[in-house]
Symmetry: C2
Subunit: 331 residues, 2 copies
């Protein structure tokens, strides 16, 4: 029987606050370039006070992926924690407006932690440096999961970034168990090299025991397996997980499946803001996969969606992805 959802995501609920800066700003503010760093409320206030005028767009890595799949016409649901505040209502509006079911109970408006946000500094080279104040997002626990949703999906998509507190980790395990119990499959994104450093042992177990499809980039993959080359990491991965989709920036993506290695070249574009490249790669790939396309087509779909994401400020698609896929003869 066809399940109600093709993909249900579990991740962070963040509103991105995007502004331009030059490299000296990053250096002076002590921001590591190109990665995600977690910040507390005080640091968020300090950094925001220094940032240029910004634009706010719903974000969150897993949410971006799910929104991308929904924009392509996929049947999706999402679970993440916001507070009942203005930014929380913006997040909830945007993901539902894209066509995704989102029903995670909001924390009440007097809850001490606000809706999370990510202060994103975009340098002239298009690279993005992310400073995440998680707020209430990291309070997502197993109790917040919508078990009916998880029992009616082909895939559950887990965002590595969320895997930080014991409560989040328990939510991961519950989500995996609920999906597997009805024959669902599990996709995980490693999210970020530092995220992998923090949780390597737990991620190794997750990947080996439960994950059917692993999303990562070359740095995350090498961090996971502590190898000096991508090839060495891929060799280990091949023995542990059914399918791996590893992005490699301008080189495109490498897909590993049952001993086979497929290369999908990157789609040429001007990098305006790299935010969301990996998220939208996963969106294109999963949309292809859940619609019965072969892995080469899935990889190409991922690369085309990623190229769209990096051609403008913000991670969520700015143009009609269905039309873009049509233009590229992908649907």
């Amino acid at each position: 029987m066809t399940k109600k959802y093709q993909i249900v995501g579990v991740g962070n609920a963040l509103v991105d606050v995007l502004a331009h800066c030059d490299d000296s700003f990053l250096a002076e503010a002590g921001i590591d370039k190109g990665v995600m760093q977690l910040i507390d409320t005080d640091r968020a206030a300090e950094l925001y006070g220094k940032m240029a005028a910004a634009q706010e767009v719903s974000g969150g890595s897993g949410a971006n992926t799910i929104a991308g799949i929904a924009a392509l016409g996929g049947r999706t649901g999402f679970m993440a924690k916001v507070r009942d505040d203005q930014l929380g209502n913006i997040f909830a509006h945007d993901i539902q407006a894209q066509g995704t079911d989102f029903a995670t109970k909001q924390a009440p408006s007097d809850h001490p932690n606000e809706t999370g946000r990510c202060l994103i500094l975009v340098t002239p080279d298009g690279e993005r440096s992310m400073n995440t104040y998680l707020g209430v997002s990291c309070e997502l626990s197993a109790d917040d999961l919508d078990m009916d949703m998880l029992a009616d999906t082909d895939w559950v998509y887990l965002e590595g970034y969320l895997f930080d507190s014991p409560a989040n980790q328990a939510a991961f395990v519950s989500a995996i168990e609920a999906a597997k119990a009805v024959g669902g499959k599990v996709a995980l994104t490693l999210s970020d090299p530092f995220c992998v450093e923090r949780h390597r042992d737990a991620f190794r177990v997750l990947v080996r025991e439960y994950v059917d499809l692993l999303f990562c980039n070359e740095h995350e993959m090498q961090a996971l397996y502590q190898t000096e080359t991508l090839d060495a990491a891929m060799e280990i991965a091949a023995t542990e997980v059914e399918t791996v989709a590893c992005t490699a920036s301008a080189k495109g993506a490498y897909i590993l499946n049952g001993g086979q290695k497929i290369h999908a070249p990157a789609t040429a574009t001007k990098v305006v803001d790299a935010t969301g490249a990996g998220d939208l790669f996963a969106a294109g790939f999963l949309f292809g996969l859940t619609n019965g396309r072969d892995l080469m087509a899935c990889g190409t779909m991922g690369c085309v969606a990623a190229a769209e994401a990096i051609s403008h400020m913000g991670a969520r698609p700015a143009m009609d992805l269905k039309e873009l896929f049509g233009d590229n003869k992908l649907m």
Copy 2:
């Protein structure tokens, strides 16, 4: 003696919520295309519920103008009312980050009216249809004015949109009196044809008695003087106000000054989102004027800044206006 500010603005404090839609959405939702309509909280909730995923960018017509002047390096201040909430803090951050002094006391977080916002629907032709929920913005009263700022500026810039409640109107009068008392000049923008319809008599008095520089577009000018042609309206205006800068979309701008009529042609660009065209025209024009440029140069500066505003989503400049003016040999 050089005054601290070249231009101090008094206007609405709004956060724009921008989304794409097609023309049938406007028709079904009962939205008048291309103009600004005021909406209440219920209508805002209903309309937002129907809108596509959006992006949030600080807006407000007068604030956009002041932010544009600040981006060009002008010395600016701004007065407008926000609540102490997430959107209010975003508005306050953005205008200060651009270099404008902004110190209007925020309404407390438990104040019943939230920070105002403008739901902007952008159709494929680039036209924008604005639905403004003013919230606390319309509560700006004479008590909120910073008299020190008004006593130390060459120009005060008044946003016609703000001229709605008796409290706002009293604030206008106080601001004008404070500026005039120290030899300052007064610029007014008519903002919108419907705004002119609502307040024609009062605007006529303001323009005749106090305004040194009037900004408007052709529709607003004809609404003000109830004439059938722009030329007829300009003839009346010429007898009532020192300088008029009237924009006319793709035809550029007409500037009237002491019997002389100057035409500044529009700068060619692709219209992505017309939001902010008039606001940024005023920014370029005022920047030129307060830096001693002749009226032809002021008009050209206005047209170049307006073209930048309509070439992307959102009203505030997306690129470095100083650089853009440099490229156009304007500074």
